[in-house]
């Protein structure tokens, strides 16, 4: 389908009463909707000339039905003009800027000429400055009167109320040229049009009534409001015709004004909101547009789509990272349009002929008519079937789809996968693609979209495919990366001393699709490094210190220095950082996305196999300190307690050293916090010593697979100081956190230090204190998500139009230059951060060799 028409621009303007009458298809005169036979009343608010919402009826204007008639506007003639509440501020500005008698702008001719030259002047400011000086009109010398606005719609001239008629006459007399200077476009927005004489009645389709199960009709809020306006309008008319006293007329007039005001905006300040019979405030025009659930953000900026599916996700490490497992039930439901050409007619015919799974659901003829494929329609379809047709067949393996997980915080929250139809009821996802989606499998659901044309498919395939997103534009490092067990697998696979027999090696290599067995390097056996090296491209050369180096000297541990030379792993054990940041990124940049994908797919298969056979688990024993270390821990806690006591004594004697800028009390708190954090560090050393490097929990923490040393400390040794607002606990009772302590006890236990570990258990007071800290972090998380969400919305809104232009400058939609060269160097963050060359050291070594 070619784009037939493109909207070039949208002009905003005010409706003049004449225009309203011209466009109106009906003058609504009856303040009612349906008659007793539930047929729309002629001249009523549901008049058939304003469109239809009842099935079976036809629009009297265009002859269309519910589906085809877009609706037409009608109008109400207001007997007396009424001020449009949303424009009252603008009206006030105009009244204040013009003369009450000659209606000219309150500026001298020379000032007028000067302002006419200025294009972008802030007129409100200019007028305020210029017209303040004089108390009479510069043109006709009339004394100026004071104009006031009593919100929302009442105007006062020298403290006498102005009727809307008076306002309207004033506005109508202002010459066009003066309005232009004020910044109005008189051709599109004459100010007197802001005082309504004819009111647009929106089409019926804008305010459809709903039929309840009981058969009762329930009218839309707008219809209710329009009924109110018309009733009072008619009463006003009757009273005027009957020659009622001015007072009564003005009262009714004001009532019409109230109804019109709430019709436009039911949240106008200083006015009680109009309510439904049930007491719920009505949702009128302004409310329909405004805010998150308003027309703009809910329906216009965010659109609903077809051809989408949503279900729970579950892991499947056996599919490729660029695949997604789609449950059979979903594949049956979703369809893909396939254009029939001379080259695929036969394939397409098969889909039409099929009664079972991959079958065509619909056929679209060249004339655009859509026919459902049924056994009876089949022959008729096939009679003329050929190139030019389009078939809609069920989703199949290899189809291109988009996969998404909310919140879609960055572009890699939506990526392109290819379909793999599977049994079961969940979407299957390779765990390696979890990080970009920030997904886990504790019940997360994800959405799938099937694209419906070639352009979309090609673009998705070329720009959004998972392997193109391996490197995140945020920091230029891998985001599609192996985690947890994969990392452990990589570590054990490449650790010194990991060897495989010939048969094991064959198994592993076969898994990777490699049929050539290298020469064994460990006697008759094969080292893990050698086997993994089989996957590396030849040019891969790396020399990095592993994460383990932080605590160990590379000289002591042969695994700590990772060296890969010309695609052969020489030394070191892989951990998360070297795997994802060095190897993966280099392959991506040197060999391209497709090769990087293959590397991830194959290497993760091998790693998973290794870790499955190796076995990796933790038990209570992994978090138990040896007796000797437990004793040391108790000593540590004792000495910490003593230290705190000593500080408190110093504080009480006032001998404690004051930190600059802090009160004595604050100095004490600071000191104690220092002592407790020192104690925690010391406990960390103890835990590390006691558990040792062969402890799986410690290994996983060290190589970045899962957990941290802090987790181990809290489980094995002690939970440590609890804090609220980065201070020791003090809230609760007067002078203490719980009644179990003495008032004003400043000691460790009384102020939230938890001596127990998660393994040994917490005492009741410790448990309470721990919960206090836990509460804070929960509250913080909730607040943080809300605040950062709003910040991101603002950021996106402010920056969304910035695009790199042909000359690599960054410009917004108007073409205004923001940066002369993107990022100062014109480099893509994805591509800029790489070392594509071998590290200097290795090069030098090669040179020497």
């Amino acid at each position: 389908m070619a784009v037939a028409k493109i909207i070039d621009r949208i002009k905003f303007s005010l409706f003049s009463p004449d225009m309203i009458r011209k466009m109106s298809s009906v003058k609504v005169t009856v303040p009612d909707t349906y008659n007793d036979d539930s047929y729309p009343i002629d001249g009523g608010l549901m008049d058939l000339r304003m469109g239809v919402i009842d099935p079976g009826l036809k629009c009297k204007v265009c002859g269309g039905t519910i589906r085809s008639c877009p609706g037409h506007i009608g109008h109400i003639e207001l007997v007396r003009p009424v001020i449009h509440p949303e424009f009252s501020k603008v009206i006030l500005f105009i009244l204040k800027s013009t003369c009450p008698s000659c209606k000219r702008l309150l500026l001298h001719e020379d000032e007028l000429a000067e302002l006419a030259q200025k294009i972008d002047a802030d007129m409100e400011e200019e007028m305020k400055q210029k017209s303040k000086k004089s108390s009479s009109c510069p043109h006709c010398k009339t004394k100026l009167s004071e104009i006031k606005l009593l919100r929302p719609t009442t105007f006062f001239k020298d403290n006498n109320m102005m009727l809307p008629t008076e306002v309207r006459d004033w506005l109508a007399a202002i010459p066009d040229k003066d309005l232009k200077i004020l910044g109005f476009d008189p051709h599109y927005a004459r100010p007197e049009w802001m005082v309504l004489t004819a009111l647009i009645v929106p089409a019926v389709s804008v305010r459809p009534s709903i039929t309840l199960e009981t058969g009762d009709r329930s009218e839309d809020d707008l219809t209710h409001k329009l009924v109110d306006i018309m009733r009072i309008n008619q009463r006003l008319e009757a009273n005027i015709n009957a020659g009622a006293p001015q007072l009564i007329i003005e009262d009714l007039w004001e009532l019409v004004q109230y109804h019109v005001t709430t019709y436009f905006n039911n949240e106008t300040s200083n006015i009680p909101p109009a309510r439904h019979r049930s007491g719920r405030p009505l949702k009128t025009l302004s409310q329909r547009l405004k805010g998150k659930e308003g027309r703009f953000r809910y329906n216009l900026s965010g659109k609903r789509v077809n051809f989408s599916a949503r279900t729970v996700i579950s892991p499947d490490p056996n599919i490729s990272i660029s695949e997604v497992g789609v449950p059979f039930a979903i594949a049956e439901e979703l369809t893909v349009p396939i254009r029939v050409t001379n080259w695929n007619v036969e394939d397409c015919k098969k889909f039409i002929m099929s009664d079972n799974y991959p079958k065509a659901e619909y056929v679209i003829r060249p004339d655009g008519k859509r026919i459902r494929v049924t056994p009876s329609a089949r022959d008729e379809i096939l009679a003329t079937f050929g190139a030019g047709y389009t078939i809609e067949r069920q989703l199949m393996d290899g189809d291109t789809v988009l996969f998404n997980r909310q919140p879609s915080l960055h572009r890699i929250s939506i990526m392109c996968h290819s379909v793999k139809v599977m049994p079961g009821r969940t979407f299957r996802l390779n765990p390696v693609v979890c990080p970009p989606y920030n997904a886990d499998f504790d019940g997360d659901e994800m959405n799938l979209h099937v694209m419906q044309n070639e352009e979309a498919r090609v673009e998705a395939e070329m720009l959004m495919k998972v392997h193109h997103q391996i490197i995140s534009p945020r920091h230029g490092h891998a985001i599609v990366k192996p985690q947890e067990d994969y990392v452990s697998g990589a570590y054990f696979f490449t650790k010194k001393g990991t060897v495989f027999t010939k048969s094991e090696a064959c198994q592993l290599l076969a898994m990777a699709g490699i049929t050539r067995l290298p020469k064994p390097d460990e006697g008759e056996n094969y080292s893990g490094k050698l086997l993994l090296s089989m996957l590396f491209p030849k040019e891969l050369s790396i020399k990095v210190k592993s994460k383990m180096c932080k605590t160990k000297d590379p000289a002591d541990d042969p695994d700590a220095l990772i060296v890969i030379k010309d695609g052969i792993m020489v030394s070191g054990a892989l951990e998360s950082k070297s795997y994802e940041n060095e190897i993966l990124e280099q392959i991506f940049h040197n060999r391209g996305p497709e090769e990087a994908r293959k590397f991830i797919d194959i290497s993760t298969h091998m790693l998973l196999d290794v870790i499955s056979k190796q076995g990796l688990s933790v038990s209570l024993a992994n978090y138990s300190l040896s007796q000797e270390h437990h004793k040391k821990l108790l000593e540590l806690q004792d000495s910490m307690k003593r230290e705190i006591e000593a500080a408190i004594v110093q504080y009480k004697n006032k001998t404690l050293e004051r930190s600059p800028g802090l009160s004595l009390r604050e100095s004490l708190e600071e000191k104690i916090m220092q002592i407790t954090s020192k104690a925690r560090d010391a406990a960390g050393v103890l835990v590390e010593q006691s558990l040792g490097f062969s402890n799986t929990a410690i290994i996983m923490a060290k190589i970045g697979a899962r957990g941290s040393l802090l987790n181990a400390i809290q489980m094995a040794a002690m939970v440590g100081q609890q804090a609220v607002r980065s201070k020791r606990l003090k809230r609760g009772y007067r002078g203490r956190t719980l009644p179990h302590f003495k008032k004003n006890d400043l000691g460790a236990a009384a102020r939230g230090f938890v001596f127990g570990s998660f393994k040994s258990g917490l005492s009741p007071t410790e448990f309470f204190h721990h919960s206090m800290g836990g509460r804070e972090s929960l509250v913080n998380t909730a607040i943080r998500t809300a605040r950062s969400g709003y910040m991101q919305r603002r950021l996106i809104n402010a920056l969304q139009d910035m695009v790199v232009a042909q000359d690599l400058s960054v410009r917004d939609s108007r073409g205004v230059i923001v940066q002369f060269l993107y990022g100062g160097d014109g480099q893509d963050p994805i591509k800029a951060n790489v070392k594509t060359e071998a590290p200097e050291e290795i090069k030098r070594e090669e040179h020497e060799a």
């Binding site: 909207i7 070039d8 621009r9 949208i10 002009k11 905003f12 005010l14 603008v90 910044g183 109005f184 051709h187 927005a189 302004s286 547009l289 703009f296 216009l300 900026s301 659109k303 915080l409 960055h410 572009r411 673009e459 534009p473 945020r474 920091h475 490092h477 930190s659 600059p660 800028g661 980065s726 943080r784 998500t785 950062s788 969400g789 910040m791 991101q792 950021l795 996106i796 809104n797 402010a798 920056l799 969304q800 139009d801 910035m802 695009v803 790199v804 960054v810 939609s813 923001v818 940066q819 993107y822 160097d825 014109g826 480099q827 893509d828 963050p829 591509k831 800029a832 951060n833 790489v834």
Partner: protein, 332 residues
């Protein structure tokens, strides 16, 4: 010269990428405040600080300066301390007890000799400064000063009292606390609570080329937008780095550049960048929907549909990335 191999793609929606790259880690940031020992407590870091920067607030919640010194002062702690003392602001209520007497319609100022000596202000200085104020009738006695406001309304007395208390006697205004810190290079610098670039730069011992404040607006006033832009980049990057969030500096630069592109710092949000966008629909879809529609109607405004939001609203191709290409295939 731009390396072609790593060059950014033409048409890339770098704005959105930057916004996402800074916004996405927002959820991982802490709300904690940072403690600069001795100077100011609770300096916002993480998300609150980032929001503060992006909002382009008039003044940060906790203005902080790092004042680098030159010459002798950078080498000696004593000398640096002297400079710090000279910079630190002394107000009247630091050296005197100021109280109002509503019955007698006067303000009593009792000087505290010891504090005055410690701060290095003389009595005659104070007298001179108070005499210099308008709207006060001053009587001077040994150790006390009585001031009678010319307007004796209670409100005015209270106002004058507060004014007197904050009366600036010595040092640089708004610098409430100073501390001398030894830098990584072994040289001393002064960290202050409160920021006043123009005032600090007057001190001859201050290395004007390196003075730093976290008040971006002030940098803009004193050094101009270019400097403010650099400060913004630095501050944003620093906030992210402190949280161990790795974000490419280009994203921070784009954000800072768009905030400063027309010569003043504009905030991200309805009062700044988003409020001045070209498209009516884009503004209406962001915030204050009705206001923008009303104003557009009155002015007879036209939306040329050149932005992203506008085109999404009308259901057309967005002018970004592949959507920029106007090429069409000839069908025949």
């Amino acid at each position: 010269m731009v390396s072609k191999k790593t060059q950014i793609d033409v048409g890339e929606a770098v704005g959105i990428v930057a916004a996402q790259s800074i916004g996405e880690p927002g959820t991982q940031m802490t709300m904690r405040t940072f403690h600069y020992a001795g100077v100011a407590e609770q300096v916002p870091t993480g998300l609150p600080r980032l929001i503060e920067l992006v909002d382009a607030r008039k003044e940060p919640k906790k203005p902080i300066m790092d004042i680098y010194l030159k010459g002798e002062a950078a080498e000696s702690y004593e000398k640096a301390k002297e400079v710090a003392k000279a910079i630190e602001c002394t107000t009247l209520d630091k050296v005197a007890y100021v109280e109002e007497d509503f019955d007698e319609k006067k303000i009593l100022i009792t000087l505290e000799k010891s504090e005055m000596d410690a701060e290095g202000v003389s009595e005659s200085d104070i007298q001179k400064r108070i005499k210099g104020l308008s709207g006060l009738h001053v009587e001077i006695k040994e150790g006390t000063i009585t001031a009678k406001p010319s307007s004796t309304s209670l409100r005015n007395i209270r106002r004058m009292t507060n004014k007197l208390r904050q009366l600036h006697l010595k040092g640089v205004e708004r610098i409430s606390r100073t501390i001398v810190v030894k830098g990584k290079d072994g040289k001393y610098f002064i960290r202050t609570s409160g920021s006043n670039l123009a005032g600090v730069l007057k001190n001859p011992h201050v290395d004007g080329s390196r003075v730093y404040t976290n008040d971006v607006q002030e940098i803009c006033r004193v050094f101009g937008v270019e400097a403010a832009r650099n400060a913004l980049v630095r501050e944003i990057k620093q906030v992210l780095d402190m949280q161990n969030l790795n974000v490419d500096i280009r994203h921070c630069m784009l954000l800072a550049d768009s905030m400063t592109m027309d010569g003043a710092i504009k905030s991200i949000g309805r009062h700044g960048l988003s409020g001045e966008k070209a498209g009516v629909l884009a503004r209406a879809a962001f915030e204050e929907t009705v206001k923008h529609l009303i104003n557009a109607a009155v002015r007879g405004e036209e939306d040329r549909l050149i932005g992203v939001t506008e085109n999404i609203i009308v259901g057309q191709t967005v002018p970004v990335g592949t959507g920029l290409v106007k090429l069409k295939m000839k069908l025949d």
